[in-house]
């Protein structure tokens, strides 16, 4: 295994990590502030990707497509919060899981009804397509570097929003004590809708950015949703910082595990056996990581008991 290949794989891990962060940030905010388990978060990711594909197809502009993805996902999030989620805050977690699972089915079949059963086309904009050469002679797709940059920028923006603004203070206060901030005269209903729409917009952005290099199809959100849950469990539920660290850990473990484990096993076993044992173990690696973290920190890396 050459150094160049290793560096390239680390970049790949980072890229998948920051995209996971966009998903996990919304999920963890919603859970932290409202105590709600939202299984339909993956559907918002799908809505972002479909909105982007539809607008890119109609106008040819990737920037407009991204704006449409943000707007559509935020609007869908706000609408769902007002119509459905609002009634679930005081209910049991099992009720929330059931209701948001129903939303997954409704969104999936609704999307299929509107856009048809065949995957949509969404491509990387021409200006960002193709590889560039990094120092050291590493060829790396430009678009993936841009994704890393956008993800890190959004992470920084989110930290500023939470640490420095009035909304951020309200969000943190909401996490600490919901009844108290309502008693202090803050419109908690409006705050909840806002947080939900923000989380949805982040998921939509991730869907649109990733949709350009993956398949835009019904059901694309669910595999990511599972990873996002792993991320917030590792990072500590409710913690944005935990979501970032957790997402990067999961992204790197998943990518590097898939590459390094088969190589590692082939040093002491037969090549074909090593490939299958290595790839099977690689699929488990993030769950092993999660189990390991929970063993030592049962509330996650940055979670509070």
């Amino acid at each position: 295994m050459s150094t160049i290949l290793l560096i390239e794989q680390v970049l790949n891990g980072l890229q998948s990590g920051v995209m996971l962060f966009l998903m996990a940030a919304g999920l963890t905010l919603i859970f932290g502030v409202m105590g709600l388990i939202n299984l339909a978060h993956g559907s918002l990711y799908m809505i972002g990707a479909f909105a982007a594909a539809a607008v890119a197809g109609a106008t040819g502009s990737f920037v407009l497509a991204l704006i449409a993805a943000l707007a559509a996902a935020a609007a869908a999030g706000a609408l769902v919060e007002l119509l459905v989620i609002r009634r679930l805050y005081d209910r049991d977690h099992l009720d929330q899981v059931l209701a948001t699972f129903a939303l997954i089915l409704i969104f999936s079949e609704g999307t299929r009804f509107v856009f048809g059963s065949f995957p949509l086309f969404l491509d990387v904009p021409a200006a960002l397509s193709g590889p560039i050469t990094l120092p050291g002679g590493i060829q790396y797709p430009l678009y993936r570097l841009v994704i890393i940059a956008v993800g890190l920028a959004v992470a920084a923006g989110l930290f500023l929003l939470i640490a420095r603004t009035r909304i951020g203070i309200q969000i943190r206060a909401g996490e600490a004590d919901r009844e108290m901030i309502a008693a202090l005269g803050i419109d908690i209903g409006r705050l909840y809708t806002l947080v939900f729409a923000l989380g949805a917009a982040l998921a939509g952005l991730a869907g649109a950015l990733v949709g350009a290099i993956q398949s835009v199809q019904v059901g694309m959100g669910e595999p990511v949703l599972i990873l996002a849950f792993v991320v917030i469990v590792i990072g500590g539920i409710g913690s944005i910082k935990g979501a970032l660290i957790g997402a990067l850990l999961v992204g790197l473990t998943d990518t590097l595990g898939g590459v390094l484990l088969p190589v590692l096993f082939s040093s002491f076993m037969d090549a074909s056996v090593a490939t299958s044992v290595g790839s099977s173990l690689a699929s488990m690696s993030i769950y092993i990581l999660m189990a390991g973290v929970l063993l030592f920190k049962p509330t996650g890396l940055f979670g509070e008991a």
């Binding site: 390239e8 794989q9 065949f118 193709g130 990733v210 019904v218 694309m220 898939g258 490939t275």
Partner: protein
């Protein structure tokens, strides 16, 4: 009751008029179609259904019941039970996925129902698990891969990087390729089923000294891989079975798929009698280009209709013989059944090209003539 007998009388009249039922053969046949019409894999089921319905259109002797299996084996089994016990169908068809076929087909054929496979041909049903009631109208899973392996030998491909998802069909496809391919395999990579990001594998391809990438990644996995591969700047030949390059998904891959070679038993530009008419009729009816799945659905209906003209479905022995004759004009050209009732047909090499604005496939040669599977030897009927 009155209405029923009226319809029966009308259809008998229609039959005698067409001459098909003149010697008393060819009663009504009730067909149960279990296929995937919702969720991520719905495009395939919809194409099979539409192709079948196009061929069966206006045929009053053929009654069709269609149900959605949601790509779930347990639901497919329930539907099959319902169709056999309460709908009393004579023939079952429609299943897209090998794992669903394995859940439904052995039980259905054991109850004496005919099953015509419009897609998926797991090796178990071609070999030891073959049945007189099971006819595969599509392909055995290994077929496209074996043909591709043979084509690679003849076309100067020497070092191949193999990739497939880590599940039985993925391993079968790769094994099929290696069965015929004589060159070197530099890497053999198994990915997670449903994986969406292939950056890590593409980096391995860049570092590899293979001249060709051969992969099987059905559905969305193939779309993701091709888009990412095109953006990576790696420039090796790409080859695979047709499943990742079919009409239904080429639109979603776009220009990134241009130049890819893929093997299939059918292509819309295949010059055999009836194919051009099929493509035109499909486009007129559904306003999109037919896929390979649509062609398989169409062939399945043609086969069934050909047998209905020769024998009564209630006479299982005669109907089976009629099916086995395969006396219909397949849109893939020559078609016959082997001893295990799996197809003997030509497999073509296609290349992805752009015709105007549409990305589609064009035939560039024959990859295997009169190809049949290797499992027939284990089939004792």
């Amino acid at each position: 009751m009155k209405l029923k007998s009226l319809i029966a009388a009308a259809s008998i009249a229609a039959l005698s008029a067409s001459g098909a039922g003149a010697d008393g053969h060819g009663g009504k046949v009730k067909v149960g179609m279990i296929t995937t019409l919702s969720g991520g894999g719905a495009g395939l089921g919809i194409d099979v259904r539409d192709g079948f319905m196009l061929a069966a259109k206006g045929n009053e002797m053929l009654e069709l019941v269609i149900e959605d299996d949601q790509r779930k084996p347990d639901i497919a089994v329930q539907l099959a039970d319902k169709m056999i016990q309460s709908e009393k169908v004579d023939v079952l068809t429609g299943i897209i996925w090998s794992n669903l076929a394995m859940a439904v087909v052995p039980a259905a054929t054991a109850q004496g129902k005919f099953y015509l496979s419009p897609n998926a041909g797991p090796s178990a049903l071609a070999g030891k698990g073959c049945s007189p009631f099971y006819f595969n109208v599509s392909w055995q899973n290994d077929a496209f891969n074996e043909a591709a392996g043979g084509w690679a030998n003849d076309n100067g491909i020497e070092k191949v990087f193999l990739m497939a998802p880590n599940y039985p069909a993925g391993q079968d496809m790769i094994a099929g390729f290696k069965r015929f391919y004589k060159g070197a395999v530099t890497e053999e990579v198994y990915t997670k089923l449903g994986q969406t990001d292939y950056a890590a594998e593409i980096a391995q391809m860049r570092a590899s000294d293979a001249d060709t990438i051969y992969f099987f990644l059905p559905g969305g996995m193939g779309i993701s891989f091709m888009k990412q591969y095109a953006g990576s700047g790696v420039e090796k030949n790409v080859m695979g079975p047709a499943f990742s390059f079919d009409q239904g998904i080429l639109g979603a891959i776009g220009d990134a798929a241009l130049g890819v070679k893929n093997t299939a038993h059918w292509s819309k530009d295949l010059d055999v009698p009836g194919n051009a008419d099929f493509v035109a009729a499909f486009q007129a009816e559904y306003d999109r280009l037919p896929s390979l799945y649509a062609a398989q659905g169409y062939d399945t209906a043609l086969l069934l209709i050909s047998a209905m003209g020769k024998a009564d479905v209630k006479d299982a022995e005669a109907f089976r013989a009629a099916l086995k004759e395969a006396d219909f004009q397949s849109v893939r050209g020559d078609f016959a059944f082997g001893e295990n009732q799996h197809p003997i047909h030509d497999i073509y090499m296609r290349e992805v090209v752009k015709e105007g604005d549409v990305v589609t496939n064009k035939i560039i040669g024959v990859a295997a003539e009169d190809h049949t599977d290797v499992y027939g030897a284990d089939c004792k009927m």
